[in-house]
């Protein structure tokens, strides 16, 4: 049969609202802990004071106008862009490393989209109630109650979005001052634009679009899929165990407790009744009975679907929409516990292990070339970053030979080369730098009155230096060393190898 053009799927799919049921368990606790910690850091860090001599007393401040990043005791200048490159590289490798081991752990537990969505769902459930109440509210016609609850939810979302935007802006300006200026209309235009854009973006992403961001927009989720290997641990439904030979079935003889179709009370009453009945027997006996009938362990309660923030059924297998948040594991374990069935019908496991005839206990398979390679790169890069920051100089220097002309012959035959020395003070206080030479007589160097030069923090000093050598010495000297020493800190002295040009070396 031919399918015509009119049968094509539309390019736009209307969002199907997802109402997640809240759940308790280890993964939920872990997610909550990460959320609280991440929020505490993000929202409180700009308010942490840190006394400085020459800069606002804010622990973390990205001073764009001053062209410096103040991070606790560290001042990062644009010249240190290599650190940013290293940091991005480390972040990428860490993502590859973790994804190879345990799948999309970043998506499920640490991604800000997941965190903010989680928080917004929490707000939603606090105002509108648990899943059935939210579904009912969604279906009912607009009235005062619906208007109040939905309106209140959106109002709180926008408030949270606004505070998110303002907090972000507070990293780029002295936070207490920014707050005052912002509300008195005196802040920079960039602050208003940033806060507005971020408020709208956060509200749209965490409140309205949610899983659509992960499914349609985010590239990371998609390209993490290619890092999966058969040994990679991921959230899996154990189909062998769950389906048996005749498929899943509700605990009662009638098939399919579809909790969704019942009111919450009735569903819970059913579950409680079952629990009493099963508890009279032991869980094992109930299971044995089911296995005799060819039924799997899955009682088809649908709770794993109801708790899923991206609205998928994990029992259909690993899917690109799955952000691997582990909530379905919590949901399933809750149910398994209540029936005294063994846990882990949905669990972290590898495809390889699940496909084997006799699955063993899931374990972290790190002894793989790719994982070890990522691990080594991660350790090396991190060590280099720490080393680079740890041994950073308190100043930057650049010595450029003046090439127009490369050398000049003086009236008595001496050869003179000239150089421009730029010293940037990266320390927090004024510093005197001493300029000297090694490999040629000290008297050959002329820097005017700047043999000792004082430079303000974050500023650069420009020194014109000339080196004058007798013709005999000049022919022997191809290079010499220029020494820049912060006064009083001989350990931080840095030498630059400098070229000396003479007429004889002319090509």
């Amino acid at each position: 049969m031919q399918t015509g053009l009119e049968d094509q799927l539309g390019l736009y799919q209307k969002r199907i609202p997802i109402f997640t049921r809240s759940v308790k368990g280890n993964f939920r606790r872990f997610k909550t802990a990460v959320l609280v910690m991440a929020y505490a850091i993000f929202f409180l860090l700009p308010w942490l004071p840190w006394s400085r001599l020459d800069a606002p007393s804010q622990a973390v401040l990205f001073d764009v106008l001053g062209r410096r990043f103040l991070i606790f005791g560290l001042t990062v200048y644009p010249q240190d862009v290599i650190w940013l490159a290293l940091l991005l590289f480390i972040a990428a490798i860490l993502l590859f490393f973790v994804t190879g081991l345990v799948g999309r752990a970043f998506c499920g537990y640490f991604c800000f989209q997941t965190l903010w969505t989680d928080f917004y769902i929490w707000i939603e459930s606090k105002i509108q109630g648990e899943r059935p109440a939210r579904v009912r509210l969604f279906r009912q016609p607009w009235n005062r109650e619906k208007l109040l609850k939905i309106g209140g939810t959106h109002a709180l979302w926008i408030l949270a979005s606004f505070w998110t935007g303002l907090t972000f802006a507070a990293y780029f300006a002295y936070a207490p001052q920014l707050l005052v200026n912002f509300f008195t209309g005196q802040a920079a235009a960039a602050a208003y634009i940033t806060v507005t854009v971020l408020t709208l973006a956060t509200y749209a992403a965490a409140g309205l679009m949610r899983e659509q961001i992960c499914t349609y927009i985010c590239p990371y989720g998609r390209f993490q899929s290619v890092m999966y290997e058969p040994e990679t641990l991921a959230v899996h439904y154990d189909a062998q165990r769950g389906e048996g030979t005749h498929g899943r079935a509700s605990v009662r003889s009638g098939r399919g407790i579809v909790v969704e179709r019942r009111s919450r009370e009735r569903a819970e009453a059913t579950v409680a009744q079952e629990r009493r009945r099963i508890n009279r027997n032991s869980g094992e006996r109930a299971l044995a009975e089911r296995h005799e009938q060819g039924l799997g362990d899955c009682i088809d309660c649908g709770l794993c679907v109801q708790v899923c923030p991206v609205g998928i059924d994990i029992r259909e297998g690993l899917q690109y929409k799955c952000i691997s948040c582990g909530l379905c594991i919590d949901a399933c374990n809750t149910i398994m516990d209540s029936f005294n069935f063994p846990r882990g019908l949905i669990r972290y496991d590898s495809e390889k292990n699940l496909a084997s005839a006799t699955p063993s206990a899931p374990k972290l398979a790190w002894k793989r070339l790719k994982i070890i390679g990522y691990g080594v790169a991660l350790v090396l890069m991190s060590a280099y970053l720490v080393y680079s920051i740890g041994t950073r100089g308190s100043f930057d220097r650049a010595v450029n030979q003046i090439r127009q002309p490369l050398y000049v012959v003086l009236s008595n035959g001496d050869i003179r080369n000239r150089y421009q020395i730029r010293i940037t003070n990266k320390a927090a206080e004024d510093q005197v730098y001493v300029i000297s030479v090694r490999g040629i007589p000290e008297a050959a160097l002329d820097v005017g009155h700047f043999r000792e030069i004082t430079i303000k923090p974050g500023h650069s000093g420009l020194v014109q230096a000339s080196v004058r050598l007798s013709p005999e010495l000049a022919t022997q000297t191809k290079h010499f060393e220029l020494l820049i020493t912060p006064k009083g800190k001989p350990a931080e002295a840095r030498a630059e190898k400098i070229r000396f040009d003479t007429p004889g070396l002319r090509p």
Binding site: V409, L410, R416, Q420, G448
Partner: protein, 306 residues
């Protein structure tokens, strides 16, 4: 199905028919295109109002916004928006930002400037631009000059003196170097003797017998070289007469000549023809006093001395 679809997509005709069966296809422009076209009309009308557009009377319709700036004379100028006024605004703002530095340069002594790292850094960068605009055409971008034409400013040989004050004087008033031609006063042989003597002063291989005769001639009233170059031949800065005893040659192409005969010939050539091309223009009226002071310090930094 697909055939049907294709047929329904064939091009419509306008319905007109000429000569029985001559028809005209109707291919209307896409709707989005037409509306974009209409939108450009609206855009144009809005643009006319906001920006200067139509000639009107002796001027033009000025648009909605104005540009005002303070010029170097301290007057506030206001124009209706145009790109020339925008340029002037930018330039005046930049000049105003530089002014405190220029004022500071003007208020400081040379000695103070040479000890101030901030002002020195300002002079190194602003002086570079001024030098490139006004001086580099002759003295070259690095101040290295051209042998036979323009003096090298990076060496330590200064025709008129290399102190701050002398360089300033040179910049403000200009210089005119002159050496008379000796071809009519002296014989070719005498000029050859002089050239050998002068070559010997700076250690160039020469004919000693001729040089001895040249020595006498140099200090005689016939040639009277010592009037300007001094009895010791080390030159006189007050008249711009160069030192003949050092290794630096501006006018004679000594360095370029491969043989010692060639070097002597180059010197002989200068004595014989004389010089009237050592002209440095006066910058006093062309550059502001602050600019000249910045250039003075910049040139002194190139290779200044005494």
């Amino acid at each position: 199905m697909s055939e049907q679809k294709l047929q329904s997509q064939t091009v419509q005709t306008t319905g007109h028919a000429w000569d029985g069966d001559l028809q005209e296809y109707n291919n209307p422009l896409p709707v989005w295109w037409v509306y974009t076209f209409y939108a450009t009309f609206i855009f144009a009308i809005v643009y006319w109002v906001i920006y200067p557009s139509w000639p009107f009377g002796k001027g033009w319709i000025g648009g909605l916004s104005d540009i005002s700036y303070v010029n170097s004379a301290g007057e506030t100028k206001t124009h209706s928006w145009n790109t020339r006024a925008l340029y002037l605004e930018d330039m005046n703002q930049a000049a105003a930002a530089q002014k405190p530095y220029f004022d500071k340069v003007q208020s400081m002594s040379y000695e103070q400037i040479s000890r101030d790292p901030e002002i020195t850094a300002f002079i190194l960068s602003s002086g570079k631009a001024l030098f490139a605009d006004n001086c580099a055409a002759c003295h070259q971008s690095g101040g290295q000059g051209v042998v036979g034409f323009f003096p090298n400013l990076t060496d330590d040989d200064w025709l008129y003196g290399g102190s701050y004050e002398k360089i300033h004087q040179t910049l403000v008033g200009g210089r005119r170097g002159y050496m008379p031609s000796f071809s009519e006063v002296l014989s070719a042989e005498q000029i050859g003797d002089l050239a050998n003597y002068v070559a010997g002063l700076s250690g160039i291989p020469h004919d000693a017998a001729k040089a001895k005769a040249g020595d006498v001639l140099f200090h005689s009233e016939t040639a009277a070289c010592y009037y300007c170059h001094g009895a010791d031949a080390k030159g006189r800065k007050e008249m711009g007469a160069p030192n003949l005893t050092d290794g630096i040659w501006l006018w004679a192409g000594v360095a370029a000549a491969p043989s010692s005969e060639g070097k002597v010939a180059a010197i002989r050539n200068v004595i014989s023809t004389g010089l009237a091309k050592g002209v440095m223009p006066a910058w006093g009226g062309r550059l502001s006093p602050e600019q000249i002071k910045v250039l003075t310090v910049y040139v002194h930094d190139l290779g200044g001395g005494l």
